[in-house]
Structures are given as C-alpha cells and as structure tokens.
Amino acid sequence: MAGIELGAAAFDWLLATMIVVLAALAAFARVLLTAIAGLIALGLVLAIAWARLGAVDVAIAEAVLGSGVLGGMLLKAWSGFAASAVDDDASMHVAPGALVLLALPAVLIAIGTVYAGHSADALGIGDAARAAIGATGVSHPVTAVLLDYRALDTLMELAVLLVAALAALSIGRIRLRARAPEPALEALLRLVVPLLILVAGVLLWRGAHAPGGAFHAGAALAAAAILVLLGWQQLAIGRALAFAGLALGVTVFSVLGALMLALGGLLDWPAEHAGSLILVVEIAATISIAFALLLLFAGGAPWPRAGEDQR
C-alpha cells in the first residue's frame, strides 16, 4: 500500500469504532432527532475515513452531499412530522425474540465482509487508468473515470437525479410564506452564501486536475440556494426556469455524446478536445445538479399548480 501511510493503526481503529457507534445511534436511538443527528455525524466521520483511505473525492462528496444536503433534507422531514404533534414512535414492530433471530444474519454479514476483504485479490484498474490518462484531457484519475472512461454511467446518474427531481415536483406540495430572516441569521447568510458559490466554482474548476468536479460543485451550489430558501422562505423559480435548469445537464451531455458518433464512437471524446468538452459537460451538469438537489430539498413545485390557488 505504498503512497497511503497506514502506520497509525490506532487511528483507523478509533475511526472504525466511531463509525459503528454513530451507526448504532442512527439506527436505535430512542429519540428520532438523535438518530438523525447520528446519521449526519456519521457522514462527517466517514468523510474523515475516506480521506484517510486516500479517497479525497469521495470525502468531499460525503461531507457536502451525504452529510450536508441529506442532513438538511432529513431535518426538514423530521420537522414536518414534529409539527403535526406526532411523537417519535421509536417502537420496534417485531417481538424481542425475533430481534435475536435478526441478529444472526447480521453477524453473518459482518463476518462475511471481513472474510471477503481479506481474501480477494488486489486487482484494480488504477495502473491502466493512469497509463491512458493522457488521452482523456484531464489529469485527475477519478474525473477521468467519471467523465471519460465511464461517461455513460455518469450520464445515467444525472438522469436518475433528474427523474427523482421530476417525481418530487409532481408529487410534492409546498407552501412558502416569504419573511425576513432575523438580523443575526441574515448577516451570517450574507457572508456564507457568496463564499459557498465561490467554493462551488473552485471545486468545479479543480475537478480536472485535483479532487473535485461537477457533483461536488453542484451540491455546494445547491447548499447555497437551500440556505437562501431557509433564510428568506422564498423560492423565486418559475416553471420554465426550473425545467430548463433540470434538463440542461442531461441534454448537453447526451447531445455532445451523440455528436461524437460522427467522430469515433458514442461519448468517445477525441483526445485533443476532450478537456474542453468535459468542462462544458461539467458546467451543464453542475447547474442541473444544483437545481435538482434544491427542488428535492424543497419537496415540491414552488409555482401554483393548475386548478389550485397558492395559499
């Protein structure tokens, strides 16, 4: 394992223990809010673990998406339940005896994971990926895998996000009453939101040569927009803008990929233009990801539906 300094085994064991403890908290805490807080904290400890294992891209994504945006969504969902004066209902609906029966496959899974980890061969495409990276137009291996070697998978991923956002728009109902935030909150937002937008830009640009990329930037942009939504309780996005923003990423990606049919193959960027093409795709994807995550957080369409007046 050259290149990753795993000498401090005690730190790894400490991280693993924290991960397990937080997971148990998230699963079995009596109070629902404690469980949600456990999951948010678990995301951040996992980010440290990813960085420790050399997966910096995953660490940034886990911190922004897995802990930040997801945590915001969970807290919003929780407050929706709590507002209707319903208690946490931490009850288990299986008998305690059955719980012991459930523990058996759980223990087997844990044992099987440790066994699988120790016995599998250390194959991997790391060397091959790095060898061919000259033709991809980017110099960071993970970005090369995401947007060149496996561009089709990333296109599908954007489509999944789009479908989820469209489903949320059609199912959800939201009611927003615009109000001014408290002065302290407003001062904080006016400082943090522009910084977040700047961070998003840096992450997007760095994606070509360092950990970063469209997903991290899109999530940071979404976080900035979510903060504005939380502060001012306003979402000034009309139907046209929302659909245009949502569709931009998948459209640009698939159109450019289809155009490559004339030059070689589907989604096969030619070596001399690959860098610029990937940048264009990433910019479009960032915008779409930001719109999708924002609308998923809002949980519905901010414009009045046909036949309903906006209360």
Partner: protein, 100 residues
C-alpha cells in the same frame, strides 16, 4: 489481520445494523435512516477494496461517488413520498394495525 481490518469490520457491522433497523423499525423516517446505513456500509467496503494494491483504485472511488449521489436522490424522493402520505392520510408508520 491487515491494516484495513477495522474498515472491513466497520463495513460489515454498519450494514448489519442498518439491515436489522430496517426490518425492526416501524416509523417511516427510521426505515429511511436504516437504508442509508446499509448504503454507507456498502460504500465503506467498496472504498476499502480500492485501497489495497499499489495506489488507490479510481474506479471504486468513482463508483462510490456515483452511489452517494444516487442514494441522496432516492432518499430525497422517499422523504417527499412520506410527506405526501402523511399529509394525505396521516400515515407515518407502515404498521397494518396502526391507529390511522
């Protein structure tokens, strides 16, 4: 006992905890948390797998990155669905014999 043993153990145990919580919990939001735990367990396993060998394997990192985005989308949609269920019918658990 390799240097990655703590992570193999964490992956398996977190996945198992999520599995038990998914089946045992009644409240919808807790089931969502449980599924999130199971996905995190799988991610720990994937990233640890990519760490063996000479240098980190970018394919496993890309897979986990994709997985994080997709799991956030699915969780968000599940939360929207639960909200609508709760608004329309007051349902917050999946018990057949709950009071609603």
């Amino acid at each position: 006992m390799s240097a990655l043993t703590p992570y193999w153990l964490a992956a398996g145990i977190v996945f198992a905890i999520g599995f038990v919580a998914l089946i045992a919990s009644a409240h919808g939001l807790r089931k969502v948390l449980a599924v999130s735990l199971m996905t995190n367990g799988a991610f720990i396993f994937l990233v640890a797998t990519g760490t063996r060998g000479e240098s980190p394997d970018p394919l496993t990192h890309a897979l986990v990155l994709t997985g994080i985005v997709i799991s956030v989308s699915a969780t968000a949609l599940a939360l929207v669905l639960m909200r609508r269920l709760h608004e329309a019918w007051g349902v917050r658990t999946l018990d057949e014999d709950s009071e609603q």
